[in-house]
């Protein structure tokens, strides 16, 4: 659900909430990117926790012509239902055709590989609580992709996370993300 916060008037409504998901969301993103615009949107879901969390605001930007770097969080249209998904690029298949392997950092399984035409954008920026997060979008993303691909990150989040006392986990989160 997307909320409009600008001032409403007689013809232009800028209040309430507008559901923008599925193919409609993908269509809007494609249209905006075609105008060389970046796009800010609210994230709903937990598949990219802890790097992108439910309620974060992300900025999507057009994919560079030079190619998509492994480790980037990317937005793509899931082939099975055409819904918008934001997961991490963890690998590229070169043969028989180029396909991109993606995976949610907080998901055990990889996604079905997607073709270039389904790839929409990459995550340029993540905002949480009014602050811009840099960890996870810089060069360290390649290490994160490796950890995510082999489920080390998932294991750390679930198994390891439960063994570490909550207070220490909170400190680690603060250190990493703020």
């Amino acid at each position: 659900m997307l909320k409009a916060r600008a001032e409403s008037s007689r013809f232009v409504q800028a209040g309430g909430a507008i559901a923008l998901d599925g193919e409609a969301c993908v269509d809007v993103i494609r249209s905006a990117l075609a105008k060389n615009a970046d796009l800010r949107l609210l994230v709903r879901g937990f598949s990219m926790t802890p790097f992108i969390q439910d309620g974060d605001i992300i900025t999507l930007s057009s994919l560079p012509a030079s190619g998509i770097g492994i480790g980037r969080a990317v937005a793509f249209s899931r082939p099975s239902d055409k819904r918008l998904v934001i997961h991490r690029l963890v690998g590229i298949l070169r043969k028989p055709a180029v396909k991109y392997i993606t995976k949610g950092d907080n998901v055990y399984r990889q996604d079905i590989p997607v073709s270039r035409s389904d790839m929409l954008a990459f995550v340029l920026r993540v905002e949480r609580g009014g602050r811009i997060l840099s960890f996870g979008t810089g060069p360290e993303r390649r290490v994160i992709a490796f950890l995510s691909k082999w489920n080390i990150l998932w294991a750390l989040t679930y198994a390891g996370g439960r063994m570490i006392p909550r207070a220490i986990r909170q400190k680690m989160k603060q250190w990493l993300f703020f």
């Binding site: 600008a6 013809f11 232009v12 507008i18 559901a19 923008l20 105008k35 800010r40």
Partner: protein
């Protein structure tokens, strides 16, 4: 930049907006400084606004747009003209339309 629109003006949707009908709602997302903001800057037009907006790309003067809508909805021309100018004034203020020419 022009700040008051007359019936002789031709208004067109700005290149810096994305407009779509989604689930029965007509939404407009302005692109400001190269960023479309789906979180804080998304607008929807009511039925009147949507009808006017869909006529904008025809390149007609506002008085012709109003005349077409007046016939389409069998409504008084003066009221439709007032609505058209009111909406265009709002959209111009929000930089969602551009005034192409004036005769």
């Amino acid at each position: 930049m022009k700040s008051v629109i007359s019936l002789n003006d031709i208004c067109k949707p700005s290149d810096n907006v994305v407009a779509r009908e989604v689930s029965g709602e007509f939404i407009i997302i302005p692109i400001a400084s190269g960023v479309g903001d789906l979180e804080d800057e998304i607008f929807s037009l009511n039925e009147t606004g949507k009808s006017i907006w869909t006529k904008l790309s025809s390149g007609k003067k506002m008085k012709d747009v109003a005349l077409a809508l007046s016939k389409e909805f069998d409504a008084p021309l003066d009221k439709i003209e007032k609505d058209c100018l009111g909406l265009m004034q709002e959209l111009l203020k929000r930089k969602m339309v551009v005034v192409k020419s004036k005769s």
